[in-house]
Assembly symmetry: C2
Homo-oligomer: 549 residues x 2
């Protein structure tokens, strides 16, 4: 068998475009808005982007297409981690380019940004691209994590573009990749290469969003996939009535995924890293918070529950970050040798006890032994603790267990552990992501045709039906500020964290007490691509709450 029944059926799906892009290329007019300013550090950003700063926001509308006819040769790049819908961005871009002019050509640079430097590419045609319509994955051309950021890379990129007569590059990526897209656009403009650059907002983490970008693509499908299995686990917990499930979900630097999954499934507990940081919560406080729910439920005869843990949460616990910094210092350089020379864990433990401050030692002490050892024994090539390897779902269930013992808890507490990440990054895109991504790609072609560069393809009004979506573009520099990265001031797109005064968190906060004590589980079930619109076409609760009037 070559393809599944669903894949075959999904080939037939025709993604929905925003209303103003539905009348054919000849009737897509443009409306320019006000000149833009970056969200902060305007003078510095302007100095860094003299050729691309301060451009106008633009919106497409039904009207006369006033763009100048010109053959376009476009290159597209997938950058970073997979997100459902990436293939549809490419398909939308391809379809629009061909609709504008059948002579237009689309190159796909392979395996991420390095494909542009290595001049490794495919040229798309109908037969090839049709195999990828409405499918998940980035396998159409592969992806990669090479960053395009040095002058030397830009020079090579220029040569490759000139060789093929490329007029524009479309970069599909997250905040870093789009920051780099802006820098590349500036370089191309400064060097008068005639090559435009357009970005598309991708990431399942949901942390690329702001006043202009309502959400990144892939977030909808990934969170629906995680919520499906979390809901199934909730129903299992509520049927078997004997396990506490600790479910870790992807999201190292922000907890949008955890929050959205919580809104969709109403678990007993969901940690939000941003709140942990804001309230400067300790591991012990977090463990107490969970243990309170375990106890309250046990008192009502419910020895089961579900807790969602965002992947990066321990990095947001202030005392834990201090501990990690101390460990890194304690083992820096030659100091590691003395430690490694010690034969037994007991001797090593004594070394640690002597080396850490008493505050950090108190944190270290409450950790399960497995994690204590991991912190000291598994370090990266630079000798640093590998925080991302810490199984925080197991850490917290262990801490909760210890708390319950301390409290003299008489009930049962049987934890089970899960981690969902890879399961959702390549799912067949939901109808929302299929439509949104196709629109982003189609819209990117229109931005190219109209001559814009340094813009992010922008589709908005997303909680409404696609017919009411608004297509346009926003200068990437508008989303930038200056941040300290690796000891240097750099212009970057501000990463969106969960806002503790935002509506999605407020809704969660208003309900979590009753969710913790009672059983309000919601079972969203598998993503549906067919059937009633309220089942198939609704987007995330996060977006619905954010856009609620």
């Amino acid at each position: 068998m070559k393809i599944s029944a669903l894949q075959k059926a999904r080939y037939e799906y025709q993604p929905k475009l925003p209303g103003m892009l539905r009348h054919g290329i000849a009737e897509i007019g443009v409306k320019e808005g006000e000149a833009t300013q970056s969200v902060a550090d305007q003078a510095k950003i302007k100095a860094l982007f003299p050729n691309t700063y301060g451009k106008k926001e633009i919106t497409f509308e039904k009207g006369t297409n006033t763009s100048v006819a010109k053959k376009q040769v476009v290159g597209v790049i997938l950058s970073g981690g997979q997100a459902p819908g990436g293939h549809n961005v490419v398909c939308g871009l391809y379809d629009a380019l061909k609709a504008i002019n059948p002579e237009n050509v689309l190159y796909g640079f392979k395996n991420g940004p390095s494909g542009l430097i290595d001049d490794d590419y495919v040229v798309f045609d109908d037969e090839f691209i049709n195999q990828y319509r409405n499918t998940g994955g980035f396998d159409i051309i592969g992806s990669g994590r090479t960053k395009l950021e040095t002058e030397a890379q830009f020079e090579v990129a220029t040569k490759v573009c000139q060789k093929h007569g490329i007029t524009a590059i479309v970069i599909i990526g997250g905040d870093d990749s789009n920051t780099n897209a802006a820098v590349l656009a500036e370089y191309f403009a400064a060097h008068k290469t005639g090559v435009q650059v357009i970005g598309c907002p991708k990431t399942i983490d949901g942390d690329l969003k702001n006043d202009d970008i309502e959400c990144s693509f892939g977030f909808d499908t990934a969170t629906k996939t995680y919520s499906e299995v979390i809901g199934n686990i909730e129903r299992d917990a509520n049927s078997a009535k004997k396990y506490w499930h600790f479910v870790k979900v992807m999201g190292r630097s922000a907890s949008h995924v955890a929050l959205e999954c919580a809104l969709q499934t109403q678990p007993n507990i969901c940690l939000i890293s941003e709140e942990v940081a804001a309230k400067k919560m300790s591991l012990s406080q977090i463990a107490d918070y969970i243990a309170d729910s375990v106890e309250a439920r046990a008192n009502n005869g419910m020895n089961f529950g579900v807790a969602i843990i965002p992947e990066g949460v321990v990095e947001f616990v202030p005392e834990f970050s201090v501990l990690i910094a101390e460990i890194n210092e304690l083992l820096a350089g030659a100091k590691a040798e003395a430690f490694n020379a010690l034969a037994t864990w007991k001797e090593k433990y004594a070394f640690i006890e002597k080396g850490l401050t008493s505050e950090s030692m108190n944190v270290f002490k409450i950790l399960p032994e497995g994690i204590q050892k991991q912190l000291f024994l598994e370090r990266d090539p630079h000798g640093n603790v590998q925080v991302s390897l810490i199984e925080s779902e197991k850490l917290f269930s262990e801490l909760v267990k210890n708390k319950l013992v301390e409290r003299g808890f008489k009930g049962r507490f049987n934890p089970l552990h899960h981690f969902f990440g890879y399961e959702g990054r390549c799912a067949f895109p939901s109808n929302f992501d299929s439509d949104y991504c196709y629109s982003l790609g189609y819209n990117a072609a229109m931005l190219i045709q109209y001559g814009y560069t340094g813009y992010l393809s922008k589709i908005s009004n997303l909680s409404k039906p696609a017919s009411e979506w608004v297509a346009g573009g926003m200068p990437i520099t508008k989303m930038m500020n200056i941040e300290r990265r690796h000891g240097e001031d750099k212009p970057v797109i501000r990463k969106a964290l969960v806002e503790l005064d935002g509506k999605p968190f407020k809704y969660f906060e208003a309900h979590r007490e009753e969710w913790a004590k009672e059983t309000y589980f919601l079972y969203p079930g598998a993503i549906q691509y067919y059937g009633p619109a309220e089942v198939c076409d609704a987007t995330t609760k996060t977006l619905a709450l954010e856009q609620e009037k």
Copy 2:
């Protein structure tokens, strides 16, 4: 929010009955077939079931309902692990009972078979049952693992039945529960209680099937759910091109789940426990088999792959079973004290080396240290090794890594690990399981109305559309043989293992070489409840292959 959009939509789904049950109760006639014999040990089984042995197979057909009008008071029990569709068995049973006579009553005994003994129940009405139509989970009345098998339990059960005027008990369970259903039916018949017993074949493991029962319910939905996420992981592997995913799936005593997932997703590797046992494979041979695929793929530039591992596989490796037996012996009773008194792992290791045969020591030596320690340090209350706790997905990835090092493998091998079990047991039942389960329950009511006892509700011809399904019943004794269990000869339903000369395995065997070397991944996507029939209504590949003409 109280229920999800999908749950609301699923309430409206009308499950499909077999054609002959669609004409209304008055037109369901019965056709009795030949008297039956048990599949083996006929004399012994007959002696154990004097009142219920040798009954006739029966089939329902369109015709005149010749059953005797009588008010039915039925009790239903969910037994053992959750399986998608359990709620629909109850709904089908309820609807048929009410259609036969609105005065009929359905009791639901709570939290498994113990509910019958404890007289803990609910009485169903429309409002209550409508909340559970076409939903996953067993939360409607809960489930439990208490076994009904002693005379004392049967006496209590009789009293409870008499108290409520119960005329029949329906037990929804796996092979053990249905074996016990047959024993209970015999007891009720021998004691002239007038209470009938009907079983329904449930288990996601797929190991309750035979010449009469084509498949147990829940297998379809659970394997589709696992295959969805395995397919997503495959697409991720094929996009990122840098990880080998080792995916463990539920199935301790049989590998039907692993095989069905492999047929649905075409991974590079799938182990089948029954084959491992039949070929007496060693851990080293299995590791070599996987390492061959890793090497071959790396040589073709593919440093990624997916391997499916059935949960129970290590218990099927003969040398491993011997090792476990030796360890249990080595630590039996007081001998554990000497071992526990040793302070360091080094000393313990020396103790082990002295105690094991050299053959078993050779097996022990190649295990990763974590698993070596687990075998000796984590034992159950009887001092036995807890084989089910062994993370076989990590065991095999570690063994493969060691093999690759031995072979001087120069490529990359980055393994990641997953376990899918709880994710699939409570999913919304697929259309197939919704229909099949509803039919099983509806059919059970007809068997009751016609006065049968000791029967399994039987729906067959399942790879065809529901209109062509055949409804009837089969004496449970027909599926029994005598097996040695815990030192006793017991009559039991023969457990179905994967047949190595059966069509599903043969199909897998014919393709696995090319799957191992090339990339033939299939992406089934999420279960669809709406849309094209070939996407929504197709059942398992296992069944399709088994019933292929």
